[in-house]
Symmetry: C2
Subunit: 425 residues, 2 copies
């Protein structure tokens, strides 16, 4: 059977899933947690196969590390599910209730988006997180994980699907895509799939964005900045920058460019460079930077650079205004930070920097659904449409307007025989 025909059936099933109660959806989550525990030996055995294949085929060590699914990861996943169960039902929330006129009442009520396709990296815990976020929010999900975790993902997906069935959810609401060619079929499902969430490399996300009419949520680049202001606290600046750069270099929220106020550059930059060198970070800078520290030369127009590695660009700026301008021009609208004790400067920065996250005196690495307390995230969005930043349950719902009348017609209001009241309830 083709992806398209499966997705077509899923589209028909989606209103049924949307109509389920929070109680039932939580019951499914509980079943998933129980069954993951029950079937853990089967999961670990499948994971062994994936690990062996990765080792035998010289898969990158970073990827190999992410593949691992052990007791510890299982505990994390189960605790994530339990947390998700405690969160409020995102469906059925009334965000507007208005009497338009006598007997004519309008409600805006949250509801699931419908059918969501998520393509994600080779990380088995991601499959469970994404599936449970979609189920909790009443969305049908098409899941395509990295091929390196094919065996683990198959077992995990079967557990999730079987649990949904046991708990009494409608059939056909979950689908696992396994072949890479399935992705192109998925991209062709405009009108059936309501939202695509790609996670992965810049090139991969760009490919998805460029090859479908389906709305795409996510981010291609993560070019995050830290601007060190003249009114900065040095004891705080260096640890924050070290954390933002080195705590996990492959993450989209790690810092890539450090901007330094010219007034403090001569004194602060050498100290920063020394600590970063001790942490094996290689620095790149333009001519002005090279006059102060030893670094790799870079051109002024090359600052839109995402290293995802122990490297960082450095630039000296005149003031917060130039920092803002630089970030809005070269950044990716992901997460940017100012180090300053001057709240006025901080407010200006946080107001004018056009990014999903704007921070004062904290590592950019905090940009994450779990750290924000969303339970988990399906991804981080740098788009300004729909959800922005880490996307949890709230980003997986939309709303509909429900209007209750008693035979009301527009002609009465057009000819002036009736007028609207517009009274909020």
């Amino acid at each position: 059977m083709s992806v398209k025909s499966d997705v077509s059936l899923m589209k028909q099933a989606s209103p049924k899933l949307a109509a389920t109660s929070n109680e039932l959806r939580n019951k499914v989550l509980e079943k998933i947690a129980d069954n993951l525990l029950k079937e853990k030996d089967k999961i670990f055995a499948a994971n062994e196969q994936d690990l062996k294949y990765a080792k035998d085929n010289d898969v990158a060590p970073q990827v190999q590390k992410r593949l691992l699914f052990n007791e510890h990861k299982l505990e994390d996943v189960i605790s994530g599910i339990k947390q998700l169960m405690t969160l409020d039902d995102p469906i059925g929330k009334v965000s507007l209730a208005r009497e338009l006129d006598e007997g004519l009442t309008l409600y805006r009520v949250s509801c699931p988006i419908g059918v969501i396709g998520v393509v994600f990296e080779a990380r088995p815990d991601a499959l469970v997180q994404i599936a449970t976020l979609c189920l909790k929010s009443g969305n049908c999900a098409i899941l395509k994980g990295g091929k390196e975790t094919a065996n683990t993902n198959k077992v995990l997906f079967d557990i999730v699907k079987e649990s949904a069935k046991e708990a009494g959810l409608p059939e056909g609401i979950l689908l696992q895509a396994t072949a890479h060619s399935d992705i192109d079929e998925l991209l062709d499902c405009y009108g059936l799939v309501d939202l695509l969430i790609p996670r992965g490399s810049n090139a991969f996300v760009q490919y998805i964005m460029n090859n479908t009419k389906i709305p795409v949520m996510g981010h291609a680049d993560g070019i995050c900045h830290i601007y060190v202001d003249e009114d900065f606290n040095e004891d705080l600046a260096i640890p924050v920058i070290v954390d933002a750069k080195t705590q996990y270099t492959a993450a989209c929220n790690s810092v890539e460019t450090i901007l330094i106020n010219r007034k403090i550059a001569k004194e602060f930059l050498p100290k920063l460079a020394k600590t970063l060198a001790e942490n094996n970070v290689k620095l790149f800078g333009n001519k002005e930077v090279l006059e102060i520290i030893d670094a790799q030369k870079m051109e002024d127009d090359a600052y839109a650079k995402e290293y995802l590695d122990l490297c960082a660009s450095v630039k000296i700026v005149e003031n917060v205004d130039e920092a803002i301008e630089h970030i809005n021009k070269f950044g990716s609208h992901h997460t940017d930070c100012i180090i300053t004790d001057n709240d006025e400067t901080a407010n200006k920065f946080m107001q004018m920097v056009d990014s999903a996250g704007v921070y004062q005196n904290a590592s950019t690495r905090f940009a994450d659904g779990f750290r924000y307390g969303f339970g988990a995230e399906v991804g981080i969005s740098t788009s300004k449409i729909h959800a922005r930043g880490p996307v949890g349950l709230e980003g997986l719902v939309t709303y509909k307007y429900k209007l209750f009348g008693h035979g009301h017609v527009v002609a009465d209001y057009a000819n002036g025989s009736k007028t609207f009241k517009h009274r909020d309830l």
Copy 2:
């Protein structure tokens, strides 16, 4: 100067506009209202030119009607601006405030989307409505109106722009595109324009959607349905259907398909057909319909039809479930109505029909920002991403996450020396 270089400057100006106060933005709206009154003779003179040109060149009567901008239209426009001024500031609303840990506080704050391009039909009042909605919500706007109103639009745009300048808004935040070729340049402004809102014919909206990477909000089709249930009130059903079909046939929210429960079809359909015939509505139906009334023959797979005229499709369905299935398959997810006195049936319909608006016993023509009490609308969205239904101020904002720390680093939470509190404030 090219559109792209103007838009590039606008992108730089947009954070400045985003940082303005509601007071200042309201002052601009007031100036616009004042200046429209002051310059009304100039506006009417320009409108005369457009009307004369349209008449001389045999522009469709419907379009000619929309071109007219007289004292009455001016009053409407000014009353719309005054209403907009009374609405709450959509910017700076805090939708989440959470202490992640001691001294580490997260806020989610609404902010403008940034740069919005709106391409709209030949209706001078639309230019003022759209411009004022964008300004009130702190967004830069690129406006392209229908060519038939070129003269009127030029005068109106100049008044809006001059008013913004007089009130002290930043330069470069408003742009009028006039040539049709400007649209293609605009479509190419990915990364500079944050959102496109096309209004107009199905083919035009499809063209925009298919030819840009910029997010597009709007609707191509408006295939709205009314389902008449077995538990219906006849005195109410017929006037609602007549209003939904005839009150303004060219509107996207007018009904195109009438679904009738089989149990009542034989008795009700002839009465309905008679009244619709008296209102000059031509009916189309499949074989089963033709057995009951005289109508044009249509095939079962042809029901996804938008007439925008005094025509309607009719189909007989077994029950509410078949009605829901039909609407989700053939509809455009715009606005669909059930006529029933049975609230249980209504709830099922309103839950399961996957449309921006789901109505009980009211004309589909109510789907409109003004009627919903939004002041005005920039368009109606059938997308489920971002805004859905009539889009007023709330659909023109996004949010950003502001995180205030005191040197917090992620490493402390990763190694377990600190744990998150996640306490909502």
